[in-house]
């Protein structure tokens, strides 16, 4: 793929993470994550075409199955079964959230982190955008009160790191990548079960209500 196409794909992924800060529907969150994961799958597919490493194709297929198909099944199933309505938003107000997003994006593109974004100088802009996606996902997890958003934030953080690794040429051996995807699958299952447990115990996914652990 040309740099332009890669930039467009990463741009879309970046926008999905921004949208996760703004979206106020649970299904919208899942769609945003699935779009991200489709892009990650395409980036890995691109690596396969560039290297002709057959085992990478297995990684691509597993990524597609776990992050796109199963994540959609688990999360939408959860939303439907519990009839979840979007109920809570951010800790910070929307203007403040947007300011932090802007600061994070600037920081990722600044000279302070140029050592990271210049790992492969030709990929500078892609690496900076991936780094911004990583920071943005972290901010999403701490800023959102909803457990579903927090779970998707963790998965987005992982997507951001994978994107960074691809553009920095730091892909690991396929065997280990399969191990990582397996971990993600288990994480996905566990997070889904816990979200259901939180709803059953607290009647809401608002994690700011969970303040019973002081004693």
């Amino acid at each position: 793929m040309s740099i332009f196409v890669l930039q467009v794909l990463l741009g879309i992924m970046f926008l999905t993470i921004i949208s996760l800060h703004l979206i106020e529907t649970n299904f919208g969150t899942v769609i945003a994550y699935v779009i991200q994961s489709v892009i990650i799958t395409l980036l890995l597919l691109n690596s396969f075409f560039e290297t002709n490493n057959f085992s990478l194709l297995i990684v691509v297929l597993l990524t597609l199955i776990v992050k796109v198909i199963l994540a959609t099944v688990f999360f939408t199933g959860l939303i439907k079964r519990l009839s979840l309505n979007f109920s809570v938003s951010n800790y910070l107000s929307m203007p403040l959230t947007l300011i932090v997003i802007a600061v994070i994006t600037l920081l990722a593109h600044s000279n302070y982190l140029s050592a990271l974004t210049n790992i492969i100088p030709a990929q500078h802009s892609l690496l900076a955008l991936s780094l911004a996606a990583i920071f943005m996902a972290m901010f999403l997890i701490v800023n959102r009160k909803d457990a579903l958003f927090q779970a998707i934030g963790v998965l987005s953080l992982e997507n951001g790191i994978v994107a960074f690794a691809i553009f920095a040429g730091l892909e690991q051996s396929p065997v280990l990548q399969i191990g990582i995807i397996f971990d993600i699958l288990i994480w996905l299952v566990i997070a889904t079960v816990f979200i259901r447990m939180i709803y059953q115990h607290f009647g809401s996914l608002d994690t700011s209500l969970m303040k019973h652990l002081k004693d």
Binding site: A115, E158, D183, D215
Partner: protein
Amino acid sequence: MAILIILVALAGAALITVLATDRRLIEGATLLAAVMALVEAVIVSQTVAALGSYDALTFFSVDSLGALLLLIIACISLATVAYSIPYLRTETAKNIISYKQVQHYYLLLNLFMMAMFLAVSSSSPIFTWISIEATTLATAFLISFYNKPTATEAAWKYLIINSIGLLLGFFGTLLYFTSIEANLTSGFISWQGLAIAATHLDPVIARIAFIFVLVGYGTKVGLAPMHTWLPDAHSKAPVPISALLSGVLLNVALMAVLRFKLITDLVIGPDFTGHLFLLFGGVSILFAALIIFTQKNYKRLLAYSSVENMGIILLGFGLGGLGALAAVFHMMYHAFIKSALFLASGTIFLNYSSTKIANVKGVLTAIPITGGLFLAGFFAITGAPPVGIFLTKLSILAIGIKTYPVSTVLVLLLMAVLFIGFLKHTSAMMFGEKPTQLVATKESVWLILPPLALLVIVLYLGFWLPPFLQILINNVAVQY
């Protein structure tokens, strides 16, 4: 082969817990797997002491630090399994848990132990990461084991905070791979390969990568200010699991940090990582000291003590030289004593049905042997002679005072605060009149033996070290 035997034994035990319908079979299989793990861990450790390392297949490689941790995991796992059997039986008899929960417990316990063994014997940083992440996944349901709102809250906090931490650690790990030539990155990168390639690592990237690794894995170690999950998780998990979490898992995560410290030091020298260790170590002790007096729950009290002790270990490694040697000893002693304390606290819980300090009085009168064990554990963990922690703390402070006199005095004061705070709570629990409604029951020898064995081992190691263990400890201290 020995590592494979450990893994196969634990996997087999896990399988039996799924298939078997007889409780005794599940307990027996888990106990047998833990015994086999200990025997094989001793064999591996002796091999490492003799040959320097133990390698099996491509994926497994055990150095001195790995071997030491293998032994610690194996010993404490066996004590935990041995304690779990009577503990869970008592809880079942009291209708606190069902048979299904017991089955889940042993399944997850076996997977948890397996993940820890994998983490310390892995030859690759990514494989180590996968294994440490697997420990999070295996233990999340153990923390929410009692299915109460507070347990779910603690487990969710644990899952999210540790997942973020481990992903940051993963990111830091990937940054170290920039030292490997591009055409090799699709291959399998080992710890050894990473150390060899360290000379090609950009010093600035090495610094950034280490910060990510320290913050990331440091979250799992329980270092302040990323420690917030630790008291919640340790207080809500079943007691034997708390013993494993506090005594063992924290050290497994610390191992990853230490390995990256070694690689970073090859690139930029030991000052940068040393100073960060001192900073995080000091802050951890400070956080623990600030919170100790206000604690209302004795399991949280023990958890905060772990934050303190991980801080002390970090100080030792940060100072280097003899400080590192003291840190290795401290790591070992803390693992055993803290596990013993948690196990003793389990028996207190079984008798008092409460983890609140205010509800627990007169333990020495009601359950004298357990009370004695808890008290002995308290004195041991706070550094009373002749237990080894006294010497390790003293050594770290003695080395620290030469280079950082003011900070060391401050740390000493914080340690004093922690001692007084811990003493205040412990004496409130141990002495006084036992509650009138408390029916004194005969203390089960099976609940006494595991913590007693752990404390005896610590006392014994304070006077005599088996030669192979001495070699391992020296190697770790020299290397790190």
